[in-house]
């Protein structure tokens, strides 16, 4: 376990990820609820119901998230054991069946998250997202195919690829594939970019 951070100290954490999630949901509900006041009663009724449900669930998640650290073993109910104290992703204690099931679920690509919020873990996804955002921003400026080629080179470099054959193969292959499948087969008008128009 690393040094405690505001979001992930081992014990007695004031702000667990669950608490933050719950509060975000409550705030989100409040903001949207405020936006329903300009609507007619008929148009607003259903969204308001949905928002109240969301706020209630958010509050429940927040309360449960705050309480969780105080209880070493959550009951076999709906508390997520993978975020119980001491259950670091690397060392799941195999003491009770819930923790074991949680260990199985932690690897589930669509299932429960790992709850690892250390900055060291988040740095790479954040940088990758930055590259992707730049890619999308460039789409309409330098054109779809050029932006895609450039992006592929940049992201491969970021991922540690240094072999020029991989660069060439991936960039040429994917751009050609996109061109033939989308522009040629499916006749999607890909933006050419304002620099070239």
């Amino acid at each position: 376990m690393q040094t405690p951070t505001p979001t992930r100290p081992p014990r007695r954490r004031p702000l667990t990820p669950d608490t933050v999630l719950g509060l975000v949901l409550v705030v989100l509900s409040a903001v949207f609820l405020a936006a329903t006041f300009g609507l007619s009663a008929e148009a607003a009724a259903w969204p308001r119901g949905v928002l109240l449900a969301l706020a209630a669930l958010g509050a429940a998640i927040a309360v449960r998230g705050r309480r969780a650290p105080a209880r070493p073993a959550p009951p076999a109910g709906d508390a997520d054991p993978s975020r119980a104290p001491g259950a670091a992703p690397s060392a799941e204690p195999g003491t009770d069946a819930d923790a074991v099931a949680a260990a199985a679920e932690a690897r589930d690509p669509e299932g429960a998250g790992d709850g690892d919020w250390r900055p060291a873990v988040l740095r790479r996804p954040a940088a990758a997202l930055g590259i992707i955002v730049a890619y999308v921003a460039l789409l309409e400026v330098i054109g779809f195919l050029a932006a895609t080629g450039l992006y592929l080179l940049a992201h491969l470099w970021f991922n540690g690829v240094r072999d020029w054959r991989v660069f060439a193969g991936v960039a040429v292959g994917v751009v050609a594939f996109i061109h033939f499948l989308f522009a040629y087969e499916l006749s999607v008008p890909l933006p050419a970019g304002m620099l070239f128009e």
Binding site: W46, V100, P109, G111, G115
Partner: protein, 506 residues
């Protein structure tokens, strides 16, 4: 189905485009499933825009082919490196990896392929036989039933997703909220558009699907914790084909597991992972003496039981998907998105007006399962080589396909931004343990639920409770909703019935 319809469906199925699409789906699905970190759901979401330009039979059959093949593919990495490529492969790893350690990896793969094929074929027949009569029921649905159905679907998928109940429900409700964005069809008021015109038509399904399932997965992969796939080829040793005697011994297990898988699949919300655990447990329970001892130490029966069950789940899960529009898992939720962009609204109409297309898709699914078995038995060795492509090279390619695919559906860069936001939200949600599938289902069912409840309030003329209780179909659905509230408890028990020790080490 009558013979004219059958011939029409066959004519729709046996075209070059459809057969190519199914083959590509099978090969691609196996590879995606075998790569730890890439799930079939992600592959299906990525391909939904490509199917947009295809014939519906080719497009949807390809998605279904990926679904079933990725389920088999998950067993490859489970058997060879003890890392299930998909959650449904976890039970397979118990015995499969032991077989690899004993030098029988190739045989385990072949048994898994045969079991998967039989499970898939059985489920495809179940789909062909059970879906049409069930779809008849949905013809009698009116506003109250549609509302209850939407509630039922959300409860089910929210409660059976891995992780916490509260978070699953919150995800579903969040999806309902996203569905209200845009112009209200009944009153014309723009809701939650915050002054923008881009949001007036609502949040598009395809960008949301790709963002939540594909891009968020990319961000998780970017954390760099993917397992090494290089070791996979070294496990492929020994004689591949099982002997006839071995096949005879496991046939009973396969048939029983296939039946279990179909049944679990039909239960909306119970996915392939539950199916494979139940199939595995039952196979163990039915075995006696030394055979029982073998379980967990490299039993071919164990591999066969888990794999036939999880592939049988795929066809079973498509029954509620096609007849009611209730997807049982995240993969089927994405396939539902694919159906909708082809203008195919699940329910009775699929089996009447669009019957030739629907039957062709179901027959295509059957064909995909057979093809999967053949390709898997003959070519597993070569497909394993394809999994050696490192994730660091795959990730940029996947992102480029996410971007171009999202763009292609509406030729809109704004959609690409929606996809990016959905990807970031999906990533954060996954990190905090909120499953993405209920969000998508809420987005799909939101409009149906709202319309159903508003119309039924008008139709009830004040006495809402009396109105709902006076309708037999509503009563059945209310009963199902009550049952679904009990389902999480059952699902938890099924999930943890077996994985006592072998799970932690994997």
């Amino acid at each position: 189905m009558d013979s004219a319809l059958f011939l029409d469906a066959l004519a729709n199925l046996f075209t070059v485009e459809v057969l190519l699409a199914i083959t590509a789906g099978v090969v691609g699905g196996i590879v995606i499933g075998a790569l730890p970190g890439l799930s079939g759901t992600m592959g299906i979401a990525l391909l939904v825009p490509i199917t947009f330009g295809m014939d519906p039979v080719a497009g949807i059959s390809m998605l279904a082919a990926i679904y079933t093949s990725a389920t088999y593919g998950g067993s490859i990495s489970a058997i060879l490196i003890n890392t299930p490529g998909t959650p449904a492969g976890a039970a397979t790893a118990l015995d499969g990896y032991q077989l690899t350690r004993q030098g029988k990896g190739a045989k385990a793969l072949a048994v898994s392929a045969i079991a998967s094929m039989i499970g898939g074929v059985v489920s495809a027949f179940a789909l062909l036989l059970l879906a049409p009569p069930l779809a008849q029921v949905s013809l009698a649905f009116s506003a109250p039933e549609y509302f209850l159905l939407a509630v039922f679907g959300l409860l089910i998928i929210g409660s059976l997703s891995a992780g916490s109940l509260l978070k699953g429900f919150a995800a579903g409700v969040l999806g309902l909220l996203l569905a209200t964005v845009g112009i209200d069809i009944l009153t014309g008021y723009p809701r939650f558009t915050f002054g923008t015109t881009a949001l007036q038509s609502g949040i598009e399904l395809v960008p949301a699907l790709i963002g939540l399932f594909s891009l968020s997965q990319v961000l998780i992969l970017a954390e760099g914790r993917d397992g090494a796939t290089e070791a996979m080829t070294s496990g492929l040793r020994g004689r591949a084909m099982p002997t006839l005697a071995e096949l005879k011994r496991i046939l009973g297990t396969i048939v029983r597991s296939s039946g279990i898988g179909v049944f679990v699949g039909i239960l909306p919300g119970a996915g392939g992972d539950i199916g494979s655990w139940v199939g595995y447990n039952e196979a163990k329970r039915f075995s006696k003496g030394p055979e029982k001892e073998e379980f967990g130490r490299g039993s071919l029966k164990g591999v066969a039981a888990a794999e036939s069950a999880n592939n049988a789940v795929t066809g079973g899960a498509m029954i509620p998907l096609l007849t009611l529009g209730i997807p049982g898992s995240s993969a089927t939720a994405v396939i539902l998105g694919g159906l909708l962009i082809h203008g195919m609204q699940p329910g009775g109409a699929l089996f009447t007006e669009q019957a030739d297309t629907t039957y062709a898709i179901m027959l295509g699914f059957l064909l995909a399962n057979i093809l999967m078995g053949i390709i898997a038995v003959a070519g597993a060795r070569y497909l394993v080589i394809a999994t050696k492509v490192p994730v660091r090279v795959l990730v940029p390619i996947i992102v480029a396909l996410c971007v171009v695919g999202t763009y292609a559906v509406n030729n809109s860069v704004a959609d690409v931004w929606v996809m990016l936001v959905a990807g970031l939200v999906g990533y954060l949600m996954r990190k905090v343990g909120v499953p993405p599938a209920p969000i998508v289902l809420g987005l799909i069912l939101g409009a149906i639920a709202e319309k159903g409840v508003r119309q039924s309030l008008v139709m009830a003329q004040g006495d809402v409770l009396g109105y709902y209780l006076s309708r037999p179909l509503s009563l059945v659905l209310l009963g199902l909703i009550l049952m679904s509230l009990l389902a999480p408890v059952l699902a938890k028990r099924m999930r943890r019935a077996v994985p006592q020790k072998a799970e932690v080490e994997t």
